[in-house]
């Protein structure tokens, strides 16, 4: 009996072993969970919980070999980056971790893994299996970025010319003389903008770069968490978190409803030298106008026509776009190709109105420009409409990444769930 078992088990083990090896190449068939991991998806799509990390999972990236790296905003068991190995069913095992610092940025390109703390950017060399070769000795490529807690995360993305782009968020809501104090006016020539409130460009392969070694690529951006390089028109796209508290700070100019409704969360296509206008303006998505901020003389009606760029697209207020990904895979139907997925982390600043977001949106693109209306792609991260409305969401989508097979990974920074969304219709 024992012999028969061993004889039976041995080949099975061998097959399992080779499957595990095979798993690092795109798996043959990924199986969605019976309940699609609790998500609501368009017909033909399925989702599974690839892993439960139990950590605050921020941005994530997948190497061409399929290894998933997840950045944690807070170090867990001494690790700030987790390494996940997907198996043939799509479920991933947490293979280990490294990088003893919290942060948000996580990106890989051309054999390097890039990760950020809230002050520095590091890079690690990847081998031909997609594994990090120097987990304890990364190269520190950028250092000394400003971190004053508010809008502290540094997101990163690379272009095709050896440059890395880093968001430095404004350490202020609207550059008031006294931050978030009702009625306090805006500081003239907002001093925050010299070292924050914009996107900085650095060299991807140079060590120890400081502000002076980089270039303020674009300014007037309050805080960007989601950003990606659009390969079609070879351009940087970012998602701005719009300002908070129009009503709380200027109750005589804005109602609670207006404060929940405005300003838009904006997508910008950025060229070198662009100015998106924070803190002087905000965007009203109902009239498609740039409005003068109340801290700088605005009253909810005055518009500003020149100086600042227009958004490429605008979305409802306060939904907190934390992830942006241009889909270049071929697993999903044709309409998704080169379009943008946006992870909306979910609002807090709409109270007492119901909260909103906690979903992944799809924005169709044509020839590198937003084209047509956005739609909710993956919903119910919150767990129920009531949990979304109260802001007490079970999960909040944060990072987005594309696997080599074209599946879409989504991270959650409440419970640390890593979702994988696949298309199964043939």
């Amino acid at each position: 009996m024992k012999n028969t078992l061993t004889r039976l088990l041995l080949p099975t083990a061998a097959v399992a072993g080779s499957l595990a090896l095979y798993a690092l190449t795109p798996p043959a068939r990924v199986v969605p969970d019976a309940d699609n991991a609790g998500l609501k998806l368009p017909a033909g799509f399925g989702a599974l919980v690839a892993a439960e990390t139990g950590a605050r999972a921020r941005h994530l990236t997948v190497t061409p070999q399929g290894v998933v790296y997840v950045k944690l905003s807070r170090v867990k068991d001494g690790k700030g980056i987790l390494t996940l190995h997907p198996t043939s069913t799509g479920k991933a095992t947490i293979a280990g971790g490294f990088g003893g610092y919290g942060g948000t940025g996580m990106y890989n390109k051309d054999g390097y893994l890039y990760a950020s703390s809230d002050e520095d950017v590091y890079r690690y060399k990847l081998d031909n299996k997609g594994e990090v070769t120097n987990p304890t000795q990364p190269e520190k490529i950028i250092t000394g970025l400003i971190n004053r807690k508010q809008h502290e995360s540094k997101s990163v993305v690379l272009d095709n010319s050896g440059n890395i782009y880093v968001n430095v968020g404004a350490y202020s809501n609207s550059c008031q003389e006294r931050d978030r104090r009702p009625g306090s006016m805006g500081m003239p020539n907002c001093p925050v903008l010299d070292s924050a409130g914009g996107i900085w460009q650095f060299k991807a392969n140079k060590l120890n770069q400081k502000y002076g070694d980089g270039l303020r690529y674009a300014t007037g951006l309050r805080n960007v968490v989601g950003l990606d390089w659009n390969q079609q028109d070879n351009k940087l796209f970012v998602m701005q978190h719009g300002r908070d508290q129009l009503h709380t700070l200027f109750p005589d100019k804005y109602t609670e409803k207006e404060s929940a409704q405005f300003p838009a969360e904006c997508m910008y296509a950025l060229d070198k030298g662009d100015n998106a206008g924070w803190p002087y303006i905000y965007y009203n998505q109902e009239v498609n106008k740039k409005m003068m901020a109340p801290e700088y003389g605005g009253d909810g009606k005055k518009t500003v026509d020149d100086k600042y760029i227009d958004p490429a697209a605008a979305y409802p207020a306060h939904m907190a776009p934390n992830g942006l990904l241009f889909y270049t895979g071929s697993m999903f139907p044709e309409k998704y190709k080169n379009g943008a997925f946006i992870a909306f982390h979910g609002s807090w600043n709409r109270a007492p109105e119901p909260q909103k977001g906690y979903f992944v949106v799809f924005q169709p693109f044509k020839n590198g420009k937003p084209s047509g209306n956005w739609e909710v792609f993956a919903d119910n991260f919150a767990g129920s409409p009531e949990k979304a409305a109260s802001g007490r969401a079970d999960h909040r989508p944060c990072g987005l990444a594309q696997g080599p097979d074209g599946s879409l990974y989504v991270s959650d920074d409440v419970k640390g769930t890593i979702y994988r969304i696949v298309y199964n219709k043939k």
């Binding site: 807690k149 809008h151 931050d179 807090w348 600043n349 109270a351 007490r392 409440v414």
Partner: protein, 147 residues
Amino acid sequence: MKHTLLIASLVLLSLPTLAQKKPATTAKKPVASAVSATALTSGKKVYTQNCLTCHMADGGGVQNMNPPLSKTSYVLGDKTRLINVLLNGMEDQEIDGESYQNVMPAHDFLTDQQIADVLTYVRNSFGNKASAVQVGEVKTARAAKKK
């Protein structure tokens, strides 16, 4: 074994009821900082205008952004420290092991009465139960700040 567990859990279950009974007997003594319905009503109004967007309707705050007000040491602890959070604002301060991004602006534009009322409301909402904050206590804290 099973029996011991059962008994243990019964004892545990009865503990909260016992605990609840205790203050009921001591509550007969006149309390210096009794909570008045007027203070709660007025405090709620101040809360809705000034606090609710960040700390939320249920006082639960927002993870990583704005601290909760339910059962935290800052809210239930020393009243002068709590009054000073409103008078001076707070920034970059870890609260019960968690850190929060947003700045709490100074709310010294509120009157002593408004501060007393809103803190009394907060200390007696969201599952909190603590003594009222008196106008005199706010006045003293504000005077100490001016020195």
